[in-house]
Amino acid sequence: MSHTAYFFQQFINALSLGSIYALVTIGLAMVFSILRLINFAHGDLMMIGSYSILMLWNAGVPVWMAILAGIVLCGIAGVIMERVCYRPLRGSAEMTTLLTSFAVVVLLENGVTLLFGPNTRPFRILNFTSPTFSIDSILISKIDVISVVLTLIILLLTTLFIKKTTIGISMRAVADDLTASHLVGIRLNRVIVSAFFIGSLFAGVAGLLWSARAGKLYPLMGFIPVVKAFVAAVIGGFGSIPGAVVGGYVLGFAEVFLVALLPPELQGYRDAFVFILLIFILLVRPQGILGAKTMQRRI
């Protein structure tokens, strides 16, 4: 394989991985911009989605039905999570809710381990990872195409939703100033629940893509992606959907090309490099790269 071909192969990998990060980051940033809550359990929604899809599929439900049901289940799980764990804590300190979400992570991961065992399970629905076509020795698999196209569609729809619909406009208002928007009569609970629902749907899609890409799933699968999505959100700024998407893609590219450039014996350290990157970004710009204005306003 020539250098150019290798480069394009990695480019496609990065695009596909970046799309997944972008999806996770949008959900994380949506909730964060409204509640100032880093919902670590967002990653576990990915896990719940993938497990539901796999279990439904194993139970004989047609693939597309299983996928749809799994993603919707994910949304419902997100809403339940909000109702049970975060609503009673509304208005308490940021750290309190953050620690609670940490407890939710342990709860869900151990719950799933209890139900389905700690083992890694194969996830081979629709043969997503098999290369479908190739251009000049560059292999492009279904999952790459689906990831990118799906992410772009979702991005477009979300932007429209946020800009045009009443609930989207309320969401932006609440993100801007929670108390003031409550005062002018916006129904907070409705807005917060929809943010959780939409974010969790995206987490479900991201979970599906993530497990399909890896070809496997396990109870702890959601933790690293959600912390990485935080890195992406820091890169792109928490304030806006485009920011989250840019952050997701930047992270995807940084990660893939880092691995491609590193000598093989250092490739296991990939995640360490991602978080060292985070520390360095925050060292230079404690408010994130693109999010300067929003962060200053909020803190």
Partner: protein, 333 residues
């Protein structure tokens, strides 16, 4: 006069405590010794986490990373030379020929972790709230990834086993007492008062001349030191260190102990660590009986959420133990 009296009470209770340690160490069965050792280690971890998170208000989720560093340093230092040459080929020659005792290993572990905490702290402690939290979590992940991949020094995912089990109840209880003493002395010193001021209002504290970043860094480094010492004790108690041991579950466990005891209360941390260790052991027995594993962590997570929702200050808030408590019970005091 009251002060003399209190000093006397303190000496008597310390005497009783170490008598109990002596009895348990000499005559207790293996299981009780092990649980008591773990209990003391959890006390050290919780109290030192409380110093950084409760008293200074740093939102750190990465303290267990320092424990991991401490445990690995101690494991590398105390592993018998024969095994060292065989397993840890990346060590410099002089290191693979020596085998250190527990005390130097503990101190070196603490100093190394404190040095790393100093470097990491310079960056992380500039951040606010959730940003500091997630970045420290990133630090924890970095430590785990390095432990998993640095095959020639940490033996990767297999971990380092066959460590000499130097740790006994004397070590753990002495270190626990020292940790509690040091943290209490810090709280009651001018530094401690500055720490509380920084926690309550960063900007206001700075405006009266407190160097908030330095105070935070100080607490973070001291906390890392004791956490790493606890890690060293842990390594030489269990006899095995592996990357997975020092990760999310332990992080959450120590946070639960701290929050339920009361953020800012050393007394709360001590009693909460003791109580939760017992609860953990009881639940473990229950798990073994019904052969369903993982229930204890679920119960712990639920307990934590209930406490944080209904009683967010924990049991003690930020009050401390005082001998005056007994005044209410008995006129003897």
């Amino acid at each position: 006069m009251n002060k003399n009296k209190h000093a006397l009470y303190l000496m008597i209770s310390m005497g009783l405590f170490f008598c109990a340690v002596y009895l348990l160490d000499a005559y207790g069965n293996h299981y009780y010794q092990r649980v008591s050792n773990l209990m003391m280690i959890y006390v050290i971890l919780t109290v030192s986490l409380n110093l950084s998170n409760g008293i200074v208000g740093i939102s750190s989720l990465g303290q267990i990373g320092f424990m991991s560093i401490g445990a690995y340093v101690s494991a590398i230092l105390t592993l018998p030379p024969g095994l060292k040459e065989h397993w840890l080929t990346g060590l410099p020659h002089w290191m693979s020929t020596i085998q250190s005792g527990l005390f130097p290993a503990m101190i070196l572990a603490g100093i190394l972790a404190a040095a790393i905490a100093f470097l990491v702290g310079i960056v992380i402690l500039r951040l606010q709230g959730v940003f500091a939290a997630v970045t420290t979590l990133g630090f924890l992940i970095i430590v785990k990834v390095v432990a998993e991949n640095w095959m020639t020094v940490t033996r990767g995912g297999r971990g380092i086993s066959s460590l000499p089990t130097y740790t006994n109840l004397w070590w753990t209880s002495a270190v626990a007492v020292i940790t509690v003493y040091v943290v209490l002395r810090i709280i009651r010193s001018p530094y401690g008062r500055s720490m509380l001021a920084v926690r309550e209002h960063d900007l206001a504290a700075q405006s009266i001349g407190i160097n908030a970043p330095r105070i935070r860094l100080l607490a973070f480094v001291i906390s890392a030191f004791f956490t790493a010492v606890a890690g060293a004790l842990w390594a030489n108690l269990i006899g095995v260190v592996s990357p997975g041991s020092f990760y999310l579950w332990l992080t959450l466990l120590i946070i639960i102990m701290m929050v339920v005891g009361g953020m800012g209360s050393v007394t709360g941390s001590v009693f909460s660590a003791i109580g939760f260790t017992i609860l953990l052991e009881l639940l473990r027995g229950f798990e073994n009986k019904i052969a369903v594993y993982g229930i204890s962590s679920i119960i712990f997570a639920i307990v934590f959420m209930l406490v944080i929702i209904f009683h967010p200050d924990g049991v003690m808030g930020d009050r401390e133990f005082s001998w005056d408590w007994f005044k209410r019970i008995t006129p003897l005091f």
